[in-house]
């Protein structure tokens, strides 16, 4: 099930992505990034975040209103830490017009669909196009097929997800917030792909 395709790392050698309005206090060892989750309602965006941030899963559906803000810091093997400031947006149609409010300045966008619903996969493609048009120029895009535990109801094949991600230079992974499968991997993989600030040596010589 959960399957990730490793794409060529496009991020190498890029400049630091913007970290949002709050003026990211990032340095080479401690990154701070703004991450936005987008996708149709009911695909499990909040569940992914709550699994990642709190290790919880609540099967009762709680419709997100506007956007929720959570943060979580992870440590990578090279002893850098990444603090994700996560905007978990509402998937409801009435909030679509407000999405730029939340993805503006985001260094990472995680676009989520439900593997049991082709409609949500279409919606995900809409968000990819929107971000390619209006998102931060060097934004890291991740395509996530959630609810991978419901494989007997699968209607979007792994191949379709992978192909679409590859065509659009995205990172792809299938997750299950319910079983926690691939949730940490998703965020670790994102962290690895983040553009790093220039080495400290450059800032020593102003």
């Amino acid at each position: 099930m959960g399957c990730s395709s490793s794409l060529p790392d496009r991020s190498s050698g890029r400049l630091v992505g913007p970290n949002g309005e709050n003026g990211g206090a990032s340095d080479a060892k401690n990154l701070r990034v703004k991450l936005v989750l987008l996708g149709d309602s009911g695909v499990g965006k909040s569940c992914i975040v709550l699994r990642f941030v709190r290790g919880q899963f609540d099967p009762t559906s709680k419709v997100t209103v506007g956007a929720s803000f959570l943060s979580q810091t992870i440590a990578l093997q090279d002893s850098t830490t990444v603090k994700f400031e996560i905007w978990d947006t509402a998937g409801q149609e009435r909030y679509a017009a407000l999405a730029p409010l939340y993805y503006r300045g985001a260094a990472v966008a995680v676009i989520v669909y439900d593997i049991t619903s082709p409609d949500t996969f279409n919606k995900a493609q809409y968000w990819v196009k929107e971000l390619q048009k209006h998102g931060t120029p060097d934004i890291v895009l991740a395509l996530v097929g959630n609810k991978a535990d419901l494989h007997e109801k699968r209607e979007v094949s792994v191949q379709d997800g992978m192909d679409y991600a590859e065509k659009n230079g995205m990172f792809f992974i299938e997750t299950s917030a319910k079983t926690a499968d691939n949730i940490n991997q998703l965020f670790e993989e994102i962290a690895k792909r983040l553009p790093r600030p220039a080495p400290p040596s450059s800032s020593q010589n102003p």
């Binding site: 709050n22 009762t60 709680k62 419709v63 509402a90 409801q92 149609e93």
Partner: protein, 600 residues
């Protein structure tokens, strides 16, 4: 035919806008309709005694001796004569021939016919059971399960037709937008029927407000391209049902703003349901509050009881934040206000507080983490979105910071951190929790003797109950149930402050069903006191088999009190004076005073 346990006081306002004196007698709304007294300058101060009002009561009800309603169904029957009544705004009332309720396709009547003579009590019980799935649970709010019920039903289901109260939102092309019961999409035919009724009357240059069909009232409210309809057999007054529809419309505006009208200008067949996706819980929780929250008919808000200094501390930090560019800062605990502050010249309407807190409490996601969401305050500006930062400090206590700037999230987050630090340092949050546990005013604690003016209050809201029996013998008469003189419950609304205080429920009004029935009775009392044309009234005393209800309206306050049905009238009146004095004595703790001058 009449099955209401307490007689209708309003008669039928639609058919008979100017009741004769006999009508007033029939409904026994003890009123003082003379111009000079009711509209006079402030000759009555807050402490005028109710005795004087009682004299008016006596003179008005000269005919049958005591000014007490003894369950005559007269007014109710009178209202039933015309099967269907078009409430015309500009022409003679016109009664169509009596129509069987089922001929309209709406057969709600059928299931209830057997209960009609036995009194609505039985029917009421049935409704409580299927709506609220409670029994013996004392907190009606806790027992209520949020979310949409009966999604599998539609207008062909017998069970759907038997529901006591339906609310619908539809578009002027007849497309369903919201239905309390059943799946909107399956109700397309029914919506089209409602739309046809409305446009049929509109085509005649008129407007339909109310249709009566047997026990059912169908109330219509037209708001541009949005139609709202309530079908009810709860015998609530027309005015109350219309106000409920106004609130439902306001709740919709809070989510979408009035600019949704433009979608209908562009495309009359526009389907609005996706725009309201996921908000069923918000509407169902509002509708539920129609049966427990007095704010829905009083148009006032209520505060969590707190020591004056504690509330001041909370207000000071909110004011600090408001000065830094926040439009409104509101700290609440459940539906009770702890403190609220508005930027200069900005004022917050109590209905907006109700709708906003309902929206926040009904949307579970606010509890999971801090959020930033567009919302509209319909009374403040129905056209524009504001942005709300919402954060829960604990399971019941939440902060709402409202701003006009969509970019303000990080600023508001900083504000919240500052507020949280102050609230923790001055132990406001723990005081809030303690107040939640202690509860508010209890009728059993009504002081028997006037408090000394300077009085420092005992721990719980000026509780000075003496262990000895009072000289009046209140206690002996009523065996310790409820408060003195058989006082069971009261609501006091301060007109200046736009705030109310409601006593805690205690025996014998302890089950959710009894509480709901009392609210309905208050609601009816409120409507009859504020009825257009023959009001405003000053006092009303009515007795039926459930309660003695006493209402007293002055320029400063409104008091609604419920007593044991056997309560003595003179003692009840005396007790009401004591309640008012008690409220006055503890107003520092139960009301938000001295806030920035609100001018709604």
């Amino acid at each position: 035919m009449t099955s209401e346990t307490s007689p209708s006081v309003s008669g039928d306002e639609a058919s008979d806008p100017k009741p004769s004196p006999e009508d007033q007698l029939a409904s026994l709304a003890l009123s003082e309709t003379d111009g000079p007294a009711s509209g006079s300058p402030r000759e009555n101060n807050r402490h005028n005694e109710i005795e004087s009002a009682e004299e008016e009561v006596q003179t008005n009800s000269a005919a049958p001796g005591l000014a007490v309603v003894e369950n005559s169904g007269e007014a109710v029957r009178r209202g039933r004569i015309g099967g269907v009544l078009w409430a015309r705004t500009n022409s003679e009332p016109e009664a169509d021939g009596p129509e069987s309720p089922s001929s309209s396709g709406y057969a709600g009547e059928r299931g209830s016919s057997s209960a009609s003579s036995a009194g609505s009590g039985i029917y009421e019980i049935a409704e409580v059971r299927d709506d609220e799935v409670v029994d013996g649970v004392s907190d009606s709010q806790a027992a209520w399960v949020p979310g949409k019920r009966h999604v599998d039903e539609d207008d062909a289901s017998i069970s759907w037709r038997k529901r006591k109260k339906h609310y619908f939102i539809l578009s002027n092309s007849g497309k369903p937008i919201y239905s309390r019961h059943g799946d909107e999409h399956k109700l397309a035919g029914f919506s089209a029927t409602l739309q046809a009724i409305i446009s049929f009357v509109e085509n005649g240059g008129d407007r339909v407000k109310l249709v009566r069909a047997g026990k059912h009232q169908v109330v219509f409210l037209v708001k541009g391209p949005i139609y709202l309809v309530c079908i009810s057999c709860t015998e609530e007054p027309y005015e109350s049902l219309r106000m409920q529809l106004e609130l439902i419309y306001g709740q919709m505006l809070l989510i979408l703003t009035k600019s949704v009208n433009r979608c209908f200008e562009k495309n009359p067949k526009f389907d609005m349901t996706p725009l309201l996706g996921g908000t069923d819980v918000v509407f169902s929780s509002l509708i539920h509050s129609f049966s427990w929250n007095p704010a829905t008919f009083l148009h006032a808000y209520t505060c969590l009881p707190l020591a004056y200094a504690t509330r001041q501390a909370a207000g000071a930090i909110l004011q600090d934040v408001a000065d830094s560019g926040v439009l409104f800062a509101i700290l609440m605990c459940k539906h009770k206000v702890i403190s609220l502050v508005g930027a200069q010249k900005a004022s917050l309407h109590p209905d907006d507080i109700l709708l906003l807190s309902n929206f926040v409490m009904a949307s579970e996601s606010f509890r999971t983490s801090e959020s930033f969401s567009p919302i509209c305050l319909p009374r403040y500006n129905p056209m524009a979105f504001l942005y709300a930062y919402v954060h829960y400090f604990d399971i019941d206590t939440y902060l709402m910071l409202l701003t006009t700037s969509s970019e303000a999230f990080y600023h508001l987050k900083d504000c919240r951190i500052r507020i949280e630090m102050v609230l923790l340092k001055s132990s406001v949050l723990s005081e809030i929790q303690r107040s939640m546990l202690d509860g508010g005013m209890r009728v059993e604690e009504l002081p028997l003797d006037p408090l000394p003016r300077s009085g420092s209050f005992s721990p719980h809201l000026g509780q000075h109950t003496l262990p000895t029996d009072s000289p009046d013998g209140f206690r002996e008469l009523y065996g310790g149930i409820g408060g003195p003189a058989g006082l069971w419950h009261f609501i006091y609304r301060s007109i200046f402050l736009d705030q109310y205080v409601s006593s805690e429920f205690s025996a014998p009004i302890s089950s959710p069903r009894q509480q709901k029935r009392l609210y309905r009775a208050y609601q009816k009392l409120y409507a009859s006191m504020h009825e257009r044309g023959i009001g405003p009234h000053k006092t009303q005393f009515r007795r039926d088999e459930n309660y003695v209800l006493l209402c007293w309206v002055t320029q400063d306050f409104e008091l609604y009190a419920a007593f044991d049905p056997l309560a003595d009238k003179a003692l009840a009146i005396k007790t009401c004076n004591r309640v008012c004095q008690w409220v006055k004595d503890v107003e520092n703790e139960i009301f938000l005073l001295g806030a920035s001058p609100f001018s709604w």
